[in-house]
Amino acid sequence: MANSDALDAAFADGPAYVPYLVVGDPDYESSTAYVEALDRGGADVIELGLPFSEPIAEGSTIQEALVRSLDAGMTPDRFFAFAEDLEVDAALVCMTYYNLIYQYGKGEGPRPFVERAAAAGIQGLVVPDLPAEEADPLREACDEFGLDLIFIVAPTTRGDRLDRMMANVSGYVYVQARLGTTGARDDVSDQTTASLDRLGGYDVPKAVGFGISTGDHAERIVAGGADGIIVGSALVDVVAEGVAEDLSTAEVADRLEALSRELKQGAERGHRSRTGTVESA
């Protein structure tokens, strides 16, 4: 099973900050500036969203961002060019839906997409509508090209399904903090703790996502045992505000960098308090 060095390294020292943005939202150039701002703000891994027209796992914030990007002409090939052009230190993961991956292969299955992603410097894939049961062809292609395949564990995932998923996962496991679709929330669910407990026996970094929007959330999640935090809608909201208020690209990028720093520092505080607790125990 693949394990990209870049993703390993991202989780190696301290908690990983894993931000998500939709590539091409609201347009290609601004989006480049935004992703680079996340990197300056301390991102360890960046999840790059490649838009699909029917994003059933997404709440309205991200759904609207995907529509903005599609309207501005985003395609898989432009997405790969975007990843290639980026100047960032963080590892890159592509988040998209299975139909785009499959269709890219023009009848040859998912392999051509993975091959192209690897060439573009992508180190892992998250595919929210691809369950472990249907993932063999993609898993094999990822192994061949050294990409990690990241699965999402829901608060409801248990038993055989959890085992099957954990047998297939590499890089990190995406722990969904609560039921439902993506979207920023005001507080962090208790379901997180229960999920992290259930995953305790598996030796792979656990990154928690869905609903994290402040440094304070990040701190609590990491203090609660997460190895990383994934933040999507809160960042996409900043981009959406920029569109609504007609802000300059530089202004939006500054806000993204500042929010990233807050989230990263929150995660680090959480980590210190956790290691502190462990030492005094």
Binding site: P55, N99, P128, R161
Partner: protein, 434 residues
């Protein structure tokens, strides 16, 4: 193993089951079907699969008796198989109509909605959600939910709400909440996506009554099994009334629920030809650039892909983005089709054909003025096909009248006004100089 190898194994193991059993165990129809859903929905899908096997397939707690009894008393089954005298004469062929328009609510949709709402009750669920295109499935679900005393929320595209106001009113009359969906073009595919989002948050106490043979397993097989009562009756009625099986069976296809319901018990009768009539819209050409298909003919013009939980034939662009579809009838206006139909078309068991908006409108007027039956615009496509291809058919044809057209009168007036429909009534003297 390469992708191609995987496919061959899947085909031999599961696809070649007898017609009515196909896909029941693993949800695969050759390489189509499956369960492509977010992880958060998986437990609900597993729970549903288990309930489907226990109650529907194994009749636990007498589920099937209760379902059949309610279909009879509340739904009005069996529906007649009626000989259409004028059409038989016109085409010099025996034409029989399976009258699903006479089912309570005015369309075949109640068979499935009642089955699923009852199943939800047996499962101990407390809330029903559904999506609707033409509003027929929403109406049927609202009726079934009121009948079985379950709260119900229905998602409907904004554009469809405008096309189908009577059905919106009917859903509300029956106590359901109707939520407009404004994303995309505001039709069925957006409504399905939105309902899946609701379900992801509420899976623990909510059942999603999907409206056709689409979506993740077990929906395609379960909906087919509930709709198969159409062909079960039609087959017996045909033998009783005519002394034999029909030569041809015709049904319109959106997602394909009335289609598979009408075909299910005939699939193993290899001498019976099965024709699935899709919405050809204004043309079968697609506009890749604009991402628009001016039709809803996914069997005809679609390509393999993954949408709303299943691998099937879809209207999509070369990148895999789903296209906006079009049809004069909102119930056929969907970019995908049930995986079982996709499979049966590949196997050449089902003949996919397309009828355009103009021919469907002619069919609408023809059935109305020759037989005294105003069909749904969806159903009218099947009669458009009959008009164009009756010479290619055998001597005894069964056409499923999937629904009645009351809901479509506004749309039919508007669409008729825009065209020169040969057999349409002349309304000019009644319009007060409009």
């Amino acid at each position: 193993m390469s992708e191609t190898d995987t496919r061959t194994t899947e085909e031999t193991e599961t696809a070649r089951r007898p017609g009515r059993e196909r896909g029941r165990d693993d949800g695969k129809f050759g390489r189509y079907g499956g369960q492509y859903v977010p992880e958060a929905l998986m437990p609900a899908i597993e729970e549903l699969t288990d309930a489907y096997e226990r109650y529907v397939l194994n009749n636990e707690d007498g589920f099937m008796e209760e379902f059949r009894e309610r279909l009879a008393d509340f739904g009005g089954r069996p529906t007649p198989l009626q000989r259409a005298d004028r059409l038989s004469e016109r085409y010099d062929t025996e034409v029989y109509l399976k009258r699903e328009d006479l089912l309570h609510g005015g369309a075949h949709k109640l068979n499935n909605a009642l089955g699923q709402v009852l199943l939800a009750k047996y499962m101990g669920k407390e809330r029903i959600i559904a999506e609707t295109g033409a509003g027929q499935h929403g109406t049927a679900t609202a009726m079934a939910a009121a009948h079985l005393d379950m709260p119900c929320t229905i998602y409907m595209g904004e554009r469809d709400i405008n096309r189908q106001r009577p059905n919106v009113f009917r859903m509300k009359l029956n106590g359901s909440e109707v939520k407009p969906v404004t994303t995309g073009r505001g039709t069925l595919k957006e409504a399905i996506s939105e309902t899946m989002r609701d379900w992801a948050e509420t899976v623990e106490d909510t059942h999603y009554v999907i409206g056709s043979i689409v979506g993740p397993h077990p929906f395609p097989v379960m909906v087919r099994d509930f709709q198969a009562v159409i062909s079960e009756e039609a087959r017996e009625q045909a033998i009783e009334k005519t002394g034999g099986l029909p030569t041809d069976v015709v049904a319109c296809a959106g997602g394909g629920s009335n289609t598979m319901g009408t075909f299910a018990h005939f699939v193993d009768d290899e001498d019976v030809a099965l024709h699935a009539v899709e919405a050809g819209g204004s043309t079968l050409e697609v506009d890749e650039e604009a991402g628009v298909a001016p039709n809803s003919a996914s069997l005809f013009a679609g390509e393999e892909g993954v949408l709303h939980g299943a691998r099937t034939k879809l209207l999509q662009d070369s990148d895999g983005q789903i296209m906006e579809s079009h049809s004069v009838s909102s119930g056929l206006d969907y970019a995908g089709v049930g995986p079982e139909l996709a499979y049966l078309v590949d196997e050449e068991r089902v003949d996919p054909v397309a009828v355009d908006d103009d021919a469907a409108l002619e069919g609408f007027h023809r059935l109305s003025n020759t037989e005294g039956i105003i069909p749904a615009l969806e159903t009218a496509h099947a009669f458009g096909y009959l008009e164009a291809h009756h010479e290619d058919l055998g001597e005894r044809v069964v056409v499923n009248v999937s629904g009645r057209g009351d809901k479509d009168l506004d749309a039919a007036i508007e669409e008729t006004d825009q065209r020169d429909v040969a057999n349409a009534p002349d309304m000019s003297m009644f319009t007060g100089g409009m």
